[in-house]
Each structure stands twice: as structure tokens, then as C-alpha cells.
């Protein structure tokens, strides 16, 4: 089975699954295929060149809706991780924020339009960035310019002054700090504690045609997520992630944040480490998580149709909860409650309005 991925630290479960061949027990041999862009992940999933992928949660929903690109029926098999993303500000903007007292005040005095990078128009990083800006009274579509920059290029763009900030996964925020290009202003767990991030995605017809293989893949990845989640195994996997064929950066820029150590920086709230398993709490593809992305697309005008009720229906088509439950049961992984209420950085509670009775 061919799995696509993009160069990010949270690809750790896939790398572990391949390295230790967790698939063999379930009759699967995995082949990993690094992709240069999320668009390439999408195109190759649609073309059948890869069977499944490490994917941004929002990418799956964007393709399902056909936002700005081809439309296809998609499936989320499971969540691969929570947390582990961040927003970096250029040194200049970080200093301006300190001086002005707030981001809004700093941006108001900023010469020209501030430019922020993110990784995909419907992706998680765009949504974390927009949410965080809006929570501080900065309109992400009017007050700043938002551009997509491939994560490995964000640091160069910051150095050259083409970006004033960006939101991306690790190790790229750590790399920006290590190269002295910017500072991590906020980690994603401060925006939404334990937010869903990457998912295991495939085309829906793949699940329909190969339910056995899909279930075997979920079991394989659940075991890989469980393995990689322990502190010792994070340290063990880091050098493998750092290798040229995965991230191609020094291991010293990968391991600390993968292990949950955010050194040197001061944060309002203690950053929560990227989490791959947490007793199975991470991996269940909860419908309300999918609904959150749909609600955000509507908030920012990317989606003009549907409502909270139709969102639940759509999420139930995409997120393969029944298949996940079967796989989890056979791996003896407990499934968390369907309903989870979170408080986000702007004080809003989210439980998926229509998904929560009462």
C-alpha cells in the first residue's frame, strides 16, 4: 500500500510504521512516498497513485467540497495527531508587538499590508492562523494578506522580509528560531487545546472497495501511533525524521519540540506536546471536528451553502467512524466519547453545535 506524506515532524507515525513494519501483522506492506505539496497529495490520491495519505484535516474537507480545485468524495480513516503546530512572527513584527502591547496595535502601525504565510487554502494552518488573528480583532481577509508558501521555504521568506509571520507545522517554527529568523509567538494548542491536525485520508471509493485493507491500515497506524507516542520512542524516531529523505534538517531542530520541549520561548499557556495516541483519545475521527472546519469555511466565505445540520451529515459521510470502531476494538484501543466540549482561545466553546444535543 502506498502512503503519501509531506515533510513535517508529525509524519512520525508513518515513518515508525514503515521502519518497524507494523503492517506485516495485518497483511500490509507499506511504501512511503514524499510529496512536494499538498496539491500533489490530493492529485495523486485522486489519480490512485497513492492509496492513502498523511493529510491536513482541512484538505480532505476542501476536496470533498471542491473548493478551488477538483471535487471528489473523500474519507477520513482516523486522526493521526493533535497539536504540534505554531505561528511564527518575524523578529521585526515580534518586537513591534512587544512595543505596541498587542498584535492589533502593532499591525495598525505596520507599513504596508502585513503578509502571513500558511500551507494550504482550506488547510489546518490557514484556519489556526485566521482563528488566532480574529481572536485578537485582526480580520484575516482584510487586515492582512494571506499567502501560501511551502513550509520549507517559509524561513527563507521570513529572512528576506517577504513574510511577516507564518503558521505551519514543526519543525519549521523551530527552524525559524534556530536560524534566528523569527520567534514562535503562539503554539497551536494555545489556540485550540488538543485540536485535531493530520488525518489518514483516502478516497471514499477506496474504503468502499477495500474495506478489509482500510481496516488493516487503521489497525497498523493505531499501533504505530501508540508506539511513537511514548517519550523514549519520540527520541528514537527523531533522527529518522531528520534524514534527507524525510525532513532533511538537523535532528537538534526536530527532537525537542517532538518531545514537547519548547525551550527559550515564553508562552501564555504551557504548550501541549504533539500527541499521537494518548490512550486512543487522539485517533477517533469525531464528527464535530469535521464540522468545525466547515463552520470556519463558512465564517471566511469559502463555503456559502449548508448549515450546522447538513455539516453533521457531511462529516458522517467523510469520517469513517464505524470502520474506526471496528479496527480500534480489534486492537483493544478504547474509543473516546463522541462529544467533546473545548474552549478555544477566543473563549468560544466548541462541541459541534448540531452534534451536541441540547
Amino acid at each position: 500500500m502506498r502512503l503519501g506524506f509531506v515533510a513535517l515532524s508529525d509524519v512520525a507515525p508513518l515513518v515508525a510504521a514503515k521502519l518497524l513494519e507494523f503492517g506485516h501483522r495485518h497483511g500490509l506492506t507499506l511504501e512511503l512516498s514524499r510529496q512536494p505539496s499538498w496539491a500533489a497529495v490530493r492529485d495523486k490520491l485522486l489519480a490512485g497513485e497513492i492509496d492513502a495519505a498523511h493529510s491536513l484535516y482541512g484538505l480532505v474537507y476542501g476536496v470533498q467540497l471542491g473548493l478551488g480545485g477538483p471535487q471528489a468524495d473523500m474519507a477520513v480513516l482516523m486522526v493521526l495527531n493533535r497539536n504540534g503546530q505554531a505561528i511564527t512572527l518575524s523578529n521585526r513584527l515580534a518586537a513591534a508587538v512587544q512595543e505596541a502591547g498587542s498584535l492589533k496595535a502593532a499591525l495598525a502601525e505596520w507599513p504596508g499590508m502585513p503578509v502571513f504565510g500558511q500551507t494550504f487554502p482550506t488547510g489546518t494552518h490557514a484556519m489556526w492562523l485566521y482563528y488566532w488573528l480574529a481572536a485578537q480583532g485582526v480580520h484575516p481577509l482584510r487586515d492582512i494578506e494571506s499567502v501560501v508558501i511551502p513550509p520549507p521555504q517559509t524561513v527563507d521568506a521570513l529572512v528576506q522580509g517577504r513574510l511577516d509571520g507564518f503558521c505551519a507545522g514543526e519543525p519549521w517554527n523551530a527552524v525559524a528560531e534556530a536560524r534566528g529568523a523569527g520567534v514562535t509567538a503562539v503554539v497551536s494548542s494555545e489556540i485550540w487545546p488538543d485540536h485535531p491536525e493530520k488525518v489518514l485520508a483516502c478516497r471514499r471509493d477506496f474504503v468502499e472497495r477495500n474495506p478489509q485493507a482500510a481496516r488493516a491500515l487503521v489497525k497498523t497506524m493505531l499501533e504505530a501511533c501508540r508506539w511513537v507516542d511514548t517519550p523514549e520512542h519520540r527520541v528514537e524516531i527523531a533522527p529518522w525524521l531528520a534524514r534527507p529523505e524525510v525532513l532533511d534538517v538537523p535532528v537538534a531542530w526536530v527532537e525537542p519540540r517532538l518531545s514537547g520541549r519548547y525551550e527559550g520561548a515564553q508562552f501564555l499557556r504551557q504548550p501541549r506536546a504533539v500527541s499521537f495516541f494518548d490512550g486512543g483519545a487522539v485517533n477517533y475521527p469525531r464528527l464535530s471536528d469535521g464540522c468545525w472546519f466547515l463552520a470556519q469555511y463558512r465564517r471566511w466565505g469559502l463555503l456559502r451553502t449548508g448549515d450546522a445540520a447538513s455539516d453533521v451529515t457531511l462529516a458522517a459521510q467523510i469520517n469513517q467512524t464505524a470502520l474506526y470502531r471496528e479496527a480500534a476494538a480489534s486492537c483493544e484501543v478504547s474509543v473516546p466519547d463522541e462529544i467533546r466540549i473545548d474552549v478555544l482561545c477566543d473563549g468560544q466553546r466548541w462541541g459541534g453545535s448540531a452534534a451536541v444535543p441540547g
Partner: protein, 191 residues
């Protein structure tokens, strides 16, 4: 003349493609200094076609432009040395504008460019038709609402209500939907 932006940020050889396309009569926009400039250049230079490699990491930048800006150039044409033609064809069928150009033979490239553009123009026309149909539907709803207002409040028949609206439109020399809009906003104001 077609304005073409060639993005060359992978290590695949493009040979004399730039010169060859220029000879074929395309206006070749200056190359990007850095991949990060792609966003700004597409916005400022407004190319008709962006030719970009399937393996280019900058492709997501074009995705953003397609989502945020309906007039962004969508016919993203990709060249690839990937020998698997079938996969490329599947991608094209799925709506991904991707083409295989073996050895980047520019002679074979021109028809592909034209096809991509024709396809984009076709999709654009469909999109505009949809926008127009949606607007017409919204207009009809407004006119219906205005008609119902007159029927409810002035106890008019449907025919009389329609005739009243039409006469007002004629007298004022405006569209029927404008009259409907005025009537509804006044009614809203008076409650």
C-alpha cells in the same frame, strides 16, 4: 497574445522551452526570482497560463489563489517526466489539469496549452452561467416577495400586483427587480 508564466523551481531540465514557446508566439513573462514571489507575480502580471511542474513545492500557492480569487489563472499546466501516462490521464479526468510532456517536446506542447485554455474557458463560462442563474433566481424571489406584499396589504390579485409592479418599473424606467427591492425595503421600514 497569451501571457505565460513558467515556474522552474524543480531540478528537471526545461531546456530551451522558454525560447521555444516565445518563438511560437507566446508572451513569456520574466522568470521568478524566488519561489516566494509566485503569489505576487500572478496577482500583478495576470498570466493566462502558469506552467508549473507536478513536483514543484510552490503548487499550493496557486491553490490559494484559485480559492481566494475567482479570476486567478486556473489552467495550471504541469509537465512531468513521469512515465506513467495512465495516472496522469486519471488525474486529468478527476479535474486536475495535468499533462505529460515527454522530453518536454515543445512541438507537442502547443496543442496541450490550447486544450488546457479551452477547457478553462469552458469551465469559466459554466461558472458564469451558474452565477447568472443564481442571480436570476434571487431576483425572482424578490419579485415574488414584493408581489405577495401587495396581495396581502392591498388585497390585490396576483395579476394586479404584478401589473402594478410592472407599471411602476416602466414609469421610473428601472428594472422590475429594483421596484420590488424598493417596495420591500419600504415595507421593512414601516414594519
Amino acid at each position: 497574445m497569451l501571457r505565460v508564466l513558467l515556474v522552474t523551481d524543480t531540478d528537471k531540465p526545461i531546456g530551451d522551452m522558454r525560447e521555444a514557446l516565445a518563438r511560437l508566439g507566446y508572451e513569456m513573462l520574466p522568470e521568478l526570482g524566488a519561489p516566494q514571489m509566485l503569489h505576487g507575480r500572478v496577482e500583478s502580471d495576470r498570466p493566462d497560463v502558469v506552467i508549473i511542474d507536478t513536483e514543484s513545492p510552490s503548487r499550493d500557492t496557486l491553490e490559494q489563489l484559485a480559492v481566494m480569487n475567482e479570476t486567478a489563472p486556473r489552467p495550471v499546466l504541469m509537465f512531468s517526466a513521469d512515465p506513467n501516462q495512465q495516472l496522469i490521464r486519471a488525474a486529468v479526468d478527476a479535474g486536475v489539469t495535468a499533462y505529460l510532456v515527454e522530453g518536454l517536446d515543445v512541438g507537442r506542447f502547443t496543442p496541450i496549452l490550447e486544450v488546457a485554455l479551452a477547457r478553462f474557458a469552458h469551465e469559466e463560462k459554466l461558472r458564469q452561467r451558474l452565477v447568472k442563474a443564481e442571480a436570476e433566481l434571487a431576483d425572482r424571489k424578490l419579485i415574488d416577495r414584493a408581489k405577495r406584499l401587495l396581495m396581502d396589504r392591498r388585497k390585490m390579485s396576483e395579476q394586479d400586483a404584478y401589473a402594478t409592479l410592472r407599471k411602476r418599473a416602466m414609469d421610473q424606467g428601472v428594472k422590475l427587480v429594483e421596484v420590488a427591492r424598493q417596495l420591500i425595503s419600504v415595507a421593512d421600514l414601516l414594519g
